[in-house]
Symmetry: C2
């Protein structure tokens, strides 16, 4: 397997609205996408473009959101995960399992509409890592 594009960095925030204002007014983001809910993962999501990758802002959605625990430790928000693209999600899952890395659950549809899974940070040098099948160009992502 080859290390793929860094699709995005995931940034947790207590407020997407406040973070969008920050990225637009302080960081100078030129393109902020429309926020949307991803109930299956317990998050509200908003993508912000950089010239070569994206920032994925994550706000808790619902009581069981995995972001609550992160924000309890980091009330202002912070770096939550990184996401790399792969051409085939099932091949990638088999690859990481063969390397002894803990795959967290089965591949499921992620924020860009393609299959994703997460890898446990303990096997990833302390970095919560998302693996995502590369969106096809015709998907418009």
């Amino acid at each position: 397997m080859q290390l793929g594009r860094l699709n995005h960095i995931g940034i947790a925030t207590p407020s997407i609205e406040a973070s969008v204002a920050f990225y637009r007014d302080v960081m100078g983001a030129q393109k902020v996408h429309t926020p949307f809910d991803l109930p299956a993962q317990g998050v509200k999501v908003c993508f912000v473009d950089t010239p070569n990758t994206q920032i994925e802002l994550l706000e808790p959605l619902g009581e069981g959101s995995p972001i609550h625990g992160f924000l309890a430790k980091n009330p202002a928000g912070g770096q939550h995960h990184v996401c790399y693209e792969v051409p085939d999600i099932h091949e990638a899952k088999a690859w990481f399992e063969a390397k002894g890395a803990k795959v967290l659950g089965e591949p499921r549809i992620g924020a860009h509409g393609t299959l994703i899974f997460f890898l446990h940070p303990r096997d990833m040098g302390g970095v919560l890592t998302e693996i995502m099948e590369t969106p096809r160009a015709e998907d418009g992502h």
Copy 2:
């Protein structure tokens, strides 16, 4: 100011040697640069290429390294900072100061040989943020 390229994500590690083996053998990195010491910042540095950005591995160098505190909290390592490019470091410093963000020290030479500064995470949504003047093409970085 416009949000620039994500030049790299900074990942702290207790061992660059072990992390290089991980990125090469597990993550499938195709290009790992030669590690080098950056004594002025108390770090040993190693860049790993992804197709669209870089990972900057950071190991403590010396007793006063700022990475020691991070590793005390995160012994396995983890996401340390993100770095965005700007065309002019002094304009960027004035911009962020005008926005009320805390610039940590004066611009200084960073790991890619151009001027950099860091911004306090409390003003950056919890994200330790490095701002870096874009390397010129002729620098070969």
